[in-house]
C-alpha cells in the first residue's frame, strides 16, 4: 500500500541552526501539507502546497519556514534558524484530489532544538 515517508525520524539540532525535513508523498497525490505537534498539544496546520506553490499557510509559518518540491517527488520543510520552541513532531501529509477524503500522514519527524 502506498505511503507517505518522512526523514529523518528524529533530528537533534542546536538553536540557530538550519533544519530540513524531507517527505516523499504518495506518487499520484496533488496536495501536500506540513503539520506540527508540540508534545502534549494538538496537531497544528503549518502550510499547504499545490501546483508548485503555497496555497495556504498559518500564522505559525513565518519567514523562518519555507517549503519546496524540488524534484517532483520530495517535499521539504526548511526552518532557517531554529528556536527552542520549534521542538515538535512534524508531520507531512498528502491528498490525492481536493474532493477525495482523507489526508495520508507520514510517521512524523521529531525535531529537538537544544
Amino acid at each position: 500500500e502506498p505511503e507517505v515517508t518522512q526523514t529523518p525520524s528524529h533530528q537533534v539540532t542546536q538553536m540557530g541552526q538550519e533544519v530540513i525535513l524531507r517527505c516523499v508523498p504518495i506518487s499520484n497525490h496533488l496536495y501536500f501539507y506540513w503539520y506540527r505537534q508540540i508534545l502534549g498539544q494538538k496537531v497544528e496546520f503549518l502550510v499547504s502546497f499545490y501546483n508548485n506553490e503555497i496555497s495556504e499557510k498559518s500564522e505559525i509559518f513565518d519567514d523562518q519556514f519555507s517549503v519546496e518540491r524540488p524534484d517532483g517527488s520530495n517535499f521539504t520543510l526548511k526552518i532557517r534558524s531554529t528556536k527552542l520552541e520549534d521542538s515538535a513532531m512534524y508531520f507531512c501529509a498528502s491528498l490525492r484530489e481536493r474532493n477525495t477524503g482523507e489526508l495520508f500522514f507520514g510517521e512524523g519527524s521529531r525535531l529537538t532544538v537544544l
Binding site: K42, V43, R98, L103, F105, E107, G108, R110
Partner: protein
C-alpha cells in the same frame, strides 16, 4: 473560521465495554468531511473513520461508529467492545471541500485509556 472542539481531555473505559468520545465543530460551509484519527504512543496518525457531510447515514468501521448530527454540528465516536490496543490519543478533525488548500483542522484530542 472553522473550529473543532473536544471537551474531554481524558476518558477511561473498561476492556470490552463501550465508550463515546465527543466532538463539536463550527463552520459555515455545507460540504465537508469529518474524521477521527488515532495517535498511539508512536505518534503516528492513523485514520479511524470518516464521514461525508452530505451523507445522512452514520459511518461505521467494525467496532467504531459515529453519531453525526449535522444541525447540531456534533460528531461523536463510539468504540464498542474496547480493546487494550484502543488506548491512544484520539483527534477529531474537519476538512472543508470548498477552499483549494483542503487543510485538516484538528481538535485538542482526547486521551483514551483502557483498563483490563
Amino acid at each position: 473560521a472553522q473550529t473543532v472542539t473536544q471537551s474531554q481531555p481524558e476518558m477511561s473505559v473498561q476492556e470490552a465495554e463501550t465508550v463515546t468520545l465527543s466532538c463539536t465543530y463550527d463552520t459555515s460551509e455545507s460540504d465537508y468531511y469529518l474524521f477521527w484519527y488515532k495517535q498511539p504512543p508512536s505518534r503516528q496518525m492513523i485514520l479511524v473513520i470518516r464521514q461525508e457531510a452530505y451523507k445522512q447515514q452514520n459511518a461505521t468501521e467494525n467496532r467504531f461508529s459515529v453519531n453525526f448530527q449535522k444541525a447540531a454540528k456534533s460528531f461523536s465516536l463510539k468504540i464498542s467492545d474496547s480493546q487494550l490496543g484502543d488506548a491512544a490519543m484520539y483527534f477529531c478533525a474537519y476538512r472543508a471541500l470548498v477552499n483549494q488548500g483542503g487543510k485538516l483542522i484538528f481538535g485538542q484530542g482526547t486521551e483514551l485509556s483502557v483498563k483490563p
